[in-house]
Assembly symmetry: C2
Homo-oligomer: 339 residues x 2
DNA sequence: CAGATACATGTAACAGTTACAGGAATACTC
DNA sequence: GAGTATTCCTGTAACTGTTACATGTATCTG
């Protein structure tokens, strides 16, 4: 394989210069840096120590991500479990601070001995994410769908479960079902919207834009939403909420407003942890297992690193599921509902 | 400093043998291994690559820990934030699987370039934890108190806040206050018990062992506890619950049993995340900030690594605090309480 | 224009690792 | 028991990547 000395010869510089480029030393001319980077990217060079090559997997997150959220915590636990089988280590990296000035992501990964990356992104950081994918580092993307890289963008399919959720509400007699989603259109939330529309369509109900609500994906967003509901003249009798934190905020604000759940309002929420058991009434929700997603992401990444195709049980897409608990009930009479 | 060649000379072996010991190669005699380890431990050798020394911090957890729990997730987020300032990386290691067979912890840390460790332990793994501390690796312990290493065992002081919590209940007129804790006696739970006793003593109330309950630290434990309460002839009117998951389970089971919180039973729980806002009624709780704990742990570890004393604002101990929400109320009349 | 300064680069000496070969002890075969 | 094969262990030497130091070049400065 490639070594510093071979790279140096090919780029027409010394080994010291190659090493300096690899470690992002400031005292190297742009010209030399360009020459070395060209050769390095060409042969996909990865530094070794002696004959030993380092093996780390990075979890790259951005400032817009709360690392302690149930979703990220679950994913990291799943990644960690998946890694143990392959004797690799998990490195936690903040995208904003992990690079030195002027350093590219692929330079940084090589410097830290990172052989594969789990990119935890959002729709807002799509460009940086795309740049990393194009640099050729083995990577798996969580939280967004990047055009041209669909096979490494893993997620949980929540469309079918979302359709099930809305059909569950319709089956309970609800004809006016609202949909509450995030202000940012990531793939997950769009999927849930598609499931909502599919269920309406299957039941012969028309989509009404006045029943579609957008709030920030946090508790306060859910509280806002309930206040808007409370002020409506022709209030929907049920709602499907596409985000975990939002539905929790809804429940607390509904209680304050004197809206009884599920008598006055049926709620199907979303849960990626165990929040549905903590609320009262316990939440009927579309659920996903974020730890399983972490394991799956690791399996996909390993298949890329070893150039082996995925094992059969890892190739299947992950699915969310509907869990019916206590926040949904049959629709009340019109007279009761609007009193 | 020490290099492989110096170690080799001092131990009377070749550099290859030293390297083999460092990397836990199986093909080295016990005698040679012993000789090399003696020298290595004597000079506290740490491998370098070229002139460059690796800088990782490890978060070492055991199988008894759920890495995705709000506590661990918060701590990891705090650690990650603290590390960014020092340009170090966080490595997540499972204590059971991170070592190769026959390898000691300190060998493993050196092999992986780990310069400091956050040991997330429990009372059940105290011996292994003690062994790591004795090996001399810079370490900070979370979740347990190890005799002789108090200054690196960081935690949040919840004793005062626990006393406040029970005094809050007594102030509301409760004279029969139960205490519910974990079946394992770790330092945190013992602290909370001490706070409970202090409040009783301050109010001139006697400690009654029949009001002390032990359940597993999960939702099911809380449910069990409420069923036991429900069956009591002389039921306490209030309870202080020393564990986050337990109090959540209590609330759901209380609802099932028809016990109204806070009318029939006042509850002060414990919260290390945002669970208190999710339950209904919102939980009056002793709260701790686990992300702050993570930052603090990192500050303590860095002060050990750099041999500098802690900055003033990091030296102060962390404190839990009482947050009064909706699960505590003034005691009802005796006639009402036992109907 | 001489001298000083800053920058970029190569040489060489260093760091750790491991393929390979060889020695020593043990096991096996006749 | 002698000869052979095997296994285990170890050191040499050749390979990784890094960086202190020296050197050359360009740009200011008086």
């Amino acid at each position: 394989m490639a070594s510093v000395r071979q790279i140096a010869k090919q780029a027409g510089v010394s080994t010291a210069t190659v090493s300096r480029v690899m470690n992002n030393s400031p005292q190297v001319s742009g010209e030399a840096k360009r020459k070395v980077m060209t050769v390095i990217n060409g042969v996909n060079y990865m530094p070794a120590v002696g004959k030993k090559t380092t093996t780390n997997i990075a979890y790259l997150f951005t400032d817009s991500i709360t690392l302690s959220s149930p979703y990220d915590a679950g994913v990291m636990a799943g990644l960690s479990a998946g890694l143990e089988q392959h004797r690799l280590d998990l490195l936690i990296l903040n995208a904003r601070t992990c690079r030195e000035s002027g350093e590219t992501f692929s330079q940084m990964f090589r410097r830290k001995g990172v052989q594969g990356v789990i990119i935890r992104t959002t729709a807002g950081t799509r460009e940086a994410c795309k740049a990393i994918l194009e640099s050729g580092v083995p990577a798996v993307v969580l939280g967004d769908q990047i055009e041209g890289y669909e096979e490494v963008c893993v997620d949980v399919d929540s469309r079918d479960a979302s359709r099930d959720a809305v059909e569950h509400l319709i089956g309970l007699g609800h004809r006016s079902v609202a949909f509450c989603t995030n202000i940012v259109d990531d793939k997950d939330h769009l999927d849930r919207f598609a499931g909502y529309q599919e269920a309406l369509s299957n039941a012969g109900l028309a989509f009404e834009s006045r029943l579609m609500f957008r709030v920030p994906a946090n508790r306060q967003g859910g509280e806002q939403f309930v206040r808007r509901l409370a002020a409506m003249v022709d209030r929907p009798s049920a709602v499907f909420v596409a985000d975990p934190a939002t539905c929790v905020g809804m429940l607390t604000e509904a209680r304050r407003q004197g809206i009884d759940v599920p008598r006055d309002l049926s709620i199907v929420g979303f849960d990626d942890s165990e929040a549905r058991f903590v609320t009262s009434p316990e939440l009927t929700a579309v659920c996903q297992d974020s730890e399983l997603l972490g394991r799956h992401a690791m399996a996909v990444l390993m298949s890329r690193l070893t150039s082996q195709s995925l094992e059969a049980d890892s190739a299947r897409p992950l699915r969310a599921w509907l869990e019916v608990n206590a926040t949904t009930a049959a629709v009340a009479d019109a007279a009761d509902a609007n009193d």
